[in-house]
Symmetry: C2
Subunit: 455 residues, 2 copies
């Protein structure tokens, strides 16, 4: 009934080194959206690869010199599978913690290291190569695929919602395969039905016109202290968010969802060993940690900077202080609500002088339906990995899933990717297992077959 995977496997063996060489080329382009580095070069590379595949390729310019969206269409038939990935990556800093150059694909201990291997260039390329393998082995695809590749995911997909709203016809489809998915600590296959939203902003405080000699401290405002005091009002030392009104916007989860989370496998010990931690936050039990992980919104200091930070002593009274903060959002929190609440909260406490600068925002997305794309992904997991996947309500990370799925009414699943617990996404020594890369290609090939056959 279903197609035979063996010829695909043979094709992968014959083309293994070429496929890895393409991966090497893609990793070598430092497409850091936060710094507007290498974006157009990377977009060109991806378009070239899609054209080589035989796809019809369109490039969409975004406002404010944003990274272009690339759409590649290929295949035949009525049924349409949308595929979302992104070609931008996180900044590579701190450079000195990398064991090999971040933009040089490096094989070591069965792994492939490099910025973007894990998040998200490996997945993106594996899915293109899967289509090639299918077509070279079996001829034309039994469905149409629309690859939607953006280049601003790591800076919060600032322009994607507006673009999606203007492209509703192009974005019609029967299902959406999202990025993400992979393996947990016990090599179980993980998929997700949604993702948290995010509000990313800076808090900035200013004092004197320039850094002063610290002897002046008795009579001059210190923006670093003011930032500390302001932050302290936003989260208490038990890690509870204390911004006025914030928790009122959290939609209570239905008990079945909580039960499903409680039933999820959780390799607590191994995860903590990976992270070098002896316990979870506030020494919480595993069950609590797991519920929090999926259900809690966050308010994370991602960065702090003020004054002198090099080696040794410098006795300055800083002129400015800055905190970068991200809030991961669960329904019904939105970036707009969060920024508004924080502004009012700070003003009510005399911190009108602290500037809030929004940098990125995404709505949370959920899709708990028993959809065809979800069933196809389950079937592909059974075929490729010989196991039923674990399906989580959402990944605790964020992405622009809301404008491409929830808002357009398109069923979505995150599945078939190469994430693993030691993958160090967003950190130095980001990596995937080499064999997982080829498994992702096989998964995509089988998914095409299964989703095309769905009635």
């Amino acid at each position: 009934m279903h197609f035979d995977i063996d010829p695909i496997n043979d094709y992968l063996e014959s083309n293994r080194e070429r496929f890895l060489d393409e991966f090497r080329q893609l990793i070598a382009i430092p497409s850091v959206a936060a710094q507007k580095r290498g974006i157009h070069e990377c977009a060109d590379w991806v378009m070239g690869r899609l054209r080589q595949l035989g796809a019809e390729v369109q490039q969409f310019a975004l406002p404010n010199d944003g990274s272009p969206v690339i759409v590649g269409e290929i295949g035949a038939g009525e049924r349409v599978l949308l595929v979302y990935n992104h070609y931008d990556v996180q900044p590579e800093a701190p450079l000195d913690l990398w064991d090999s150059p971040p933009f040089e694909l490096t094989r070591r201990d069965g792994k492939l290291f490099g910025r973007g291997t894990n998040d998200d260039k490996g997945e993106l390329l594996a899915r293109i190569q899967a289509v090639e393998a299918w077509r070279e082995t079996y001829g034309e695809l039994p469905l149409r695929i629309k690859f939607i590749f953006e280049g601003e995911e790591e800076i919060g997909s600032v322009n994607l919602p507006g673009w999606a709203e203007s492209q509703q016809e192009l974005l019609q489809g029967d299902g959406l395969l999202w990025e993400g998915g992979g393996y947990d600590e016990a090599d179980r296959i993980i998929m997700a039905e949604g993702c948290k939203g995010i509000a990313y902003f800076e808090l900035r405080c200013r004092g004197a016109a320039y850094d002063l000699h610290s002897s002046l401290a008795p009579m001059i405002v210190n923006p670093a202290w003011r930032l500390v005091w302001a932050l302290n009002t936003m989260k208490d030392s038990q890690d509870r968010i204390t911004v006025d009104g914030f928790i009122d916007h959290i939609r209570p989860m239905p008990q079945p969802t909580i039960d499903r989370i409680d039933a999820l496998p959780f390799e607590s010990e191994r995860m903590r060993a990976n992270f070098g931690l002896s316990q979870w936050l506030n020494a919480m039990e595993d069950e609590t940690a797991l519920r929090q992980y999926y259900l809690a919104p966050t308010m994370t200091i991602c960065g702090l900077e003020s004054g002198y930070t090099d080696a040794g002593t410098k006795t300055v009274l800083p002129a400015q202080a800055m905190a970068k903060i991200d809030c991961r959002l669960v329904p019904d929190l939105t970036p707009e609500i969060v920024q508004d609440l924080i502004r009012k909260h700070l003003d009510a406490r005399g911190f009108e002088d602290i500037e809030l600068v929004p940098l990125a925002g995404e709505h949370p997305a959920m899709d708990m339906q028993d959809s065809q794309v979800r069933r196809a992904a389950i079937a592909a997991s059974q075929a490729v990995f010989g196991q039923d996947p674990v399906i989580v309500p959402w990944f605790a990370g964020s992405g622009p899933m809301y404008p491409l799925s929830t808002q357009l009414g398109i069923p979505v699943i995150s599945a078939g990717a190469t994430w693993h617990p030691g993958g160090r996404a967003h950190a130095p020594n980001e990596n995937i297992f080499e064999e997982d890369y080829f498994a992702a290609i096989r998964f995509m090939a089988v998914l095409i077959d299964r989703f095309a056959a769905m009635k």
Copy 2:
């Protein structure tokens, strides 16, 4: 009775460009003690200049590859004037805020810009050149001078107290001329009888073994938040130090001292304009600000660092966070007391995980006696500037005055230097007025005469 200043003035005019060229050479050596840059090169330059002057020069190595102390002796007679300055400077960062290269002496608008012009290479060299001018004009000095030049002042003179204790014979003298002193906003001459002490330390907090994806925040400790919460317990939002027991160690000042402070001229408006500030801390009145400036100990965040601090967004949960803090100390606070109190304070609040790393410490020093060196400095001020100086109980800055004066029983005065309100010590665009440089030379020459004549 007193010597005639005119021949000295003539000598300065004839040698003006050579003196400035020497200043240029000294500024060009980036003797940043915090980074162990250029220290030995600078020490060699200073020793060469002292030998050229005709002084007997000794170099004292300090422990742990510390910057050497240089002692230069010159002159004749029983009476000994000790002269303290330092040849090290603060780091030049942030480089992009300098209008001219920090280690290139640059003339602009009647000022001399460069790191160390103000603090403390200008003073150091002016005093050497004053001795040259005297000797070339009048022959041998009427007293003996011992120049004590250290190279670790900007990192808290970590090794000087131990060295001073081992060199009590060498350090005998009838009076000690300290660094510092200069002009206030109304061009009044300012001198000081002491300086605050200092405790400089880092607070360091660690979380996971490496920066993590911020989606993990619901269950993993964030060292940046912990640092915020810990700091918040140390100082309240009214800028009051709340470390347990801290304020109990502040010795009440006698009313006459407070009266003297209240009577000090205070160019409040001009100072604030210089700093770009519309009001003092907590909108305090001028009288309060002035009292605080002299009498209050401080606890200043000099630097904060955690996670991602470059442009744009990076969604990381930081693995570590760090604050650099200096406390300016009034009697009877000492660095040891402060570190001990903070350690206990943090432990009592569950912050045992926050490491306290002492980087530098100095005791406060006071000398309110009517000493001969003080009277000589007043006389020199009258002669050179035609005005009585304003004598403050101490500078709000710190220095190793305690081991060289208080502990050895040697009267001390800070006087005759080139500080001015826009001098930007420790900051970008550090500068002095060119004419103040030559005034400092004249002051030193007259001080030699007046102090030698004291009975």
